[in-house]
């Protein structure tokens, strides 16, 4: 009980998501919304259109690109899957 409470209240000490952004190239329309909304300026579209996992060391795994993609191209993939 105490453990659960602590987990909910303490700030994150690890990356926001344990995973990478993966893409389904057949859904990508290359509109560029993903890269435009990336706070660290990763050209996400170049990965997405080729169906590549966004394997960029600067990715902070904030998930903005997944959130804004209008076509459902991007998703989380755990490091194990990737």
């Amino acid at each position: 009980m105490f453990k659960r409470l602590k987990k909910e209240t303490s700030p994150p000490t690890e990356p926001i998501h344990l995973g990478l952004v993966a893409a389904d190239a057949t859904r990508c329309i290359q509109c560029g919304l993903c890269g435009y909304n990336c706070p660290v300026g990763i050209p996400v579209r170049d990965y997405a259109r080729q169906g590549l996992t966004v394997d960029d060391p600067t990715c902070i795994t904030c998930g903005n690109c997944i959130q804004v993609c209008p076509r459902g191209t991007l998703r989380w993939e755990t490091k194990h899957d990737a």
């Binding site: 057949t26 859904r27 329309i29 290359q30 509109c31 560029g32 919304l33 890269g35 435009y36 579209r45 259109r49 804004v68 209008p70 076509r71 459902g72």
Partner: protein, 451 residues
């Protein structure tokens, strides 16, 4: 080898990239009628809505062209001499080729009314046209949009978000009547009302009226009434660009007819993308797709054949996922709402961007299932036979339309793409969306695990 690609869009660029992967030495020239680097045409919707600036839709850099040693030539192809293998440009230049890919795409059909040349008649079709639209779409103005299809709906959404008082004219009483059924139309209409869109059913324009400055000032309706507006958005469909192949031996129907190697009836002349009419294995006909992923797949197959790797094009199931007024919508395969709506199909003169003629074809022994749960809907179309010729033994899902929650989109795509026997689902067709959805997921998982 000298490759010439006419068209700097999805099909042309994918073809150029694929050719370079297989032929490091060949000369590749891309002819672009529009004065820009390759951009995402579907992305223009998000430029209108203000989610991205116009330059963001440009999907390739100048360095990318240079790295792949692609020569980009700006100019419009005017005529084609297939005997001497030459393409003549409007400005008098002549480009020779050994292998030619025609990927000229499609262009918006102009408004079929007098006054369609007035200032303020706008299209969501090209990057330049979109910039023009942005200049004219000012807050507080009154705009009218006509057309079924995704592009019209995207234009309505974009203009609304820009503060334009937007009025959407429907010829009938339903949104995109060839694709949506009544409940689906109502669901989207509710969202549109919520965003402040005024939908006018059974309303059709007859003339666009201008003022002395040649600006749009009103629309005269078919009932004779005048409706004031400053902006008239047109998205009634697109037409493949075929001017270049007129007066050549290249065979066309609604677009350039290609065989399964994406080759026209003239040797070494290929076509891909919106200007190509491709064999569809589901309906057994040559059908048009005006879809981004199809253009990419066709461009890739054409390129492989152009470099001498004989590769048949296996047309995928036409698919589109879009987000309109906050509502996610996925359309897969043969999905017209009603086989009796064949009249509607006959009435479709021009296909709208983001759609496929396959959607309006019907399988044998058509049956449909429908489930709704709050703002989430699911519609399935089932056909007879299971693809192995044993008519009546088993059923396959041939189309699906999913609105709202999208977790069923990928499982359904798997089932449709693989023509999976959907008999296990039959007992659940009348169930609620949750139960039917669970069974669909289970069936698709069993396919993925035991392909």
């Amino acid at each position: 080898m000298n490759y010439l690609i006419i068209g700097n869009g999805a099909a042309g660029i994918t073809a150029a990239e694929t050719i370079r992967q297989h032929d490091p030495r060949g000369q590749i020239t891309i002819l672009s009628a529009e004065p820009s680097l390759m951009y995402s045409r579907p992305g223009l919707a998000y430029v209108i809505s203000g989610e991205i600036p116009p330059q963001q839709v440009i999907a390739r850099t100048r360095e990318w062209y240079a790295d792949l040693r692609l020569e980009l030539v700006y100019g419009r192809a005017q005529s084609l001499d297939v005997y001497n293998r030459l393409v003549m440009l409007a400005d008098g230049r002549v480009l020779p080729y050994h292998k030619l890919l025609i990927a000229t795409g499609a262009r918006a059909v102009p408004a079929p009314y007098p006054g369609n040349d007035l200032d303020g008649v706008v299209y969501l079709d090209t990057l330049e046209g979109t910039k023009e639209l942005l200049k004219k779409a000012r807050r507080g103005q009154r705009g009218v949009v006509i057309g079924g299809g995704i592009t019209a709906l995207e234009m309505v959404e974009g203009l609304t978000q820009r503060g334009v008082n937007t009025h959407y004219f429907l010829r009938r009483d339903r949104l995109w009547s060839q694709v949506f059924n009544e409940a689906e139309s109502r669901l989207l209409a509710e969202k549109m009302h919520h965003h402040g869109v005024h939908i006018h059913t059974n309303t059709e324009a007859a003339e666009i009226l201008g003022n002395w400055r040649h600006n749009v000032r009103a629309v005269r309706l078919q009932n004779g009434k005048e409706f004031k507006c400053n902006l008239f958005g047109v998205a009634i469909g697109v037409k493949p660009q075929l001017e270049l192949v007129k007066n050549t031996p290249i065979q066309t129907d609604r677009a350039i007819l290609v065989n399964e190697q994406m080759q026209s009836n003239v040797p070494d002349v290929y076509a891909a993308g919106d200007c190509a009419q491709v064999y569809d294995r589901w309906s057994g006909q040559h059908l048009l797709d005006v879809l981004w992923p199809s253009a990419i797949a066709e461009g890739r197959t054409a390129a492989l054949n152009m470099v001498g790797q004989t590769t048949p094009y296996v047309k995928g199931i036409p698919f589109n996922a879009c987000l309109l007024f906050g509502l996610h919508i996925t359309i897969i395969g043969q999905i017209s709402p009603d086989p009796k709506a064949k009249d509607d199909f006959a009435e479709i003169q021009h296909l709208s961007r983001g759609s496929s003629e396959v959607w309006f074809t019907f399988p044998r022994h058509y049956q449909s299932a429908w489930a709704k749960s709050g703002p989430h809907t699911l519609r399935l179309a089932l056909g007879g036979g299971n693809g192995n010729g044993r008519e009546g033994h088993g059923r396959t899902i041939v189309g699906a339309l999913i609105m709202g929650e999208q977790t069923l989109a990928d499982p359904l795509r798997t089932l449709i793409e693989n023509q999976v026997d959907a008999s296990p689902l039959l007992p659940y067709l009348q169930s609620d969306r949750e139960t039917l959805g669970r069974e669909i997921k289970n069936l698709s998982l069993s396919v993925i695990r035991n392909p």
